[in-house]
Amino acid sequence: MTQQPKTILDIMVADIFLNKEDNSLTILHDTAFDDNLLLFEYDLTSGELLFKFETKQMAFGIELRGEFYEGLKNAQTITVLQIDMDTNEPVLGLEVPLVIK
């Protein structure tokens, strides 16, 4: 039995948000990444968002369609904020480029 590769959602709590006021996208997550996140790649056909790290890549783990499709298609970057779930405060922020596949 082949094991499916792990996704971001398998290893941490994360969610993606579309701010309709300025069409900006933000990903919040609760756990630090163990590698440098360099780039996002969004596949318009499959709706998959790929996290490209320095030494590996991982899918987000859920298809992004509908409003997110439009948002991602037009976005240039995604803001990534690591949240301390106890204090509900952001502890780390990144602005990561997004490319469309």
């Binding site: 037009n74 803001t79 480029p97």
Partner: protein, 332 residues
């Protein structure tokens, strides 16, 4: 063949009033499109278009920018050099001309079915046409374009915007655009004052005696710089630097530009696009890398998301709150 551009690009074009431009532009655009269509029927490349015309047409440029609706060949070659040529037409110098060009282009595209008002990317295409219309006369993105001409790095632009954002985390894009522009202008003034100081120094040096009396050189503190005082040439860098100024670009104009540009792409997206576009104009490819947000920016981003969510303008894929992210609590 290029008669359609004459009212807009010749020296007499600069002297035309608004009404003359309004009359001239639609006719010019029609001629442009007819000519372009005749060329496109032969499936030329963009390079071929430029070679055939000696300069790019507004129509060809817009065709590229609106998603290549006419010819697949057009996108195969960079648009940068073409627009760079556009910018050389200094006769395009005010907002009215840009608006006439952009409106004429939009109307023509819509009337001819090249741009559909109910298309999903209509607003985006329209924004790009507007930007191109302004850009063609050196107005839209004027500040940023001039910044590039002045040697202000794109990182300076990002830094200026980040700084503006830190100082006003909840500021509207237009306010941030103005603040960032002012910071760029300050930076330019700093560079200018350094340049001026270097120039004064070299002028004084050139005017000074080539060989100072030995006693004087020993008796005054100037003796310290004696080897430079004997130099009679102006430093190369001073002679070659351009002396341009952003002072003639009004805050109001920049505010409008940023407000318009931010309508669809989001603030950072607009900046990224602006930088990409400007870099392309100067034959450079903007390679963006992720960048870390500092503490202030990180918190500002989170607060802005919370505030927008509080206004009911945020959607999440996983449910946000159910995931444990407490963003539905607006932070005022």
């Amino acid at each position: 063949m290029l008669g359609f551009l004459a009212p807009l690009v010749t020296g007499t074009g600069a002297a035309l009033g608004r009404s003359a431009l309004i009359r001239a532009a639609p006719k010019a655009m029609n001629s442009a499109w007819n000519w372009t269509k005749s060329l496109l029927s032969k499936k030329p490349t963009f390079a071929g278009l430029i070679m055939a015309s000696g300069l790019p047409t507004i129509a060809a440029t817009i065709d590229n920018a609106t998603g290549n609706r006419i010819s697949g060949a057009l996108l195969k070659t960079p648009i940068g050099p073409a627009l760079e040529k556009f910018l050389k037409f200094k006769e395009f110098s005010n907002d009215q001309e840009a608006t006439v060009v952009a409106n004429s282009a939009t109307n023509y595209l819509v009337e001819n079915g090249r741009l559909k008002e109910n298309a999903p990317d209509y607003d985006r295409s329209k924004s790009i046409i507007k930007a191109l219309g302004h850009l063609a006369i050196g107005d839209e993105f004027g500040a940023a374009t001039k910044a590039a001409e002045l040697g202000i790095e794109t990182s300076d632009l990002v830094a200026a915007l980040n700084q503006a954002r830190e100082e006003n985390p909840n500021g509207a894009p237009k306010d941030l655009g103005v603040a960032a522009f002012q910071k760029l202008r300050e930076k330019l003034r700093e560079k200018d004052s350094k340049l001026e100081a270097a120039k004064e120094f070299s002028t004084a040096a050139a005017a000074a005696p080539a060989v100072a009396p030995a006693t004087a050189s020993v008796a005054t503190p100037d003796a310290v710089v004696e080897p430079q005082v004997t130099r009679s040439e102006t430093p190369k860098s001073v002679k070659q630097r351009k002396r341009l100024s952003l002072d003639d670009v009004s805050n109001e104009g920049i505010s409008t530009i940023f407000e318009k540009a931010a309508d669809n792409a989001g603030f950072m997206g607009m900046i990224m696009r602006g930088i990409s576009f400007i870099s392309g104009l100067f034959g450079q490819k903007a390679n963006f890398q992720r960048w870390a947000l500092d503490n202030v920016m990180t918190k500002a981003k989170y607060k802005a998301l919370q505030a927008a969510n509080g206004r009911g303008n945020v959607v999440s894929r996983m449910g946000g709150l159910e995931q444990g992210f407490n963003i539905p609590e607006p932070a005022y």
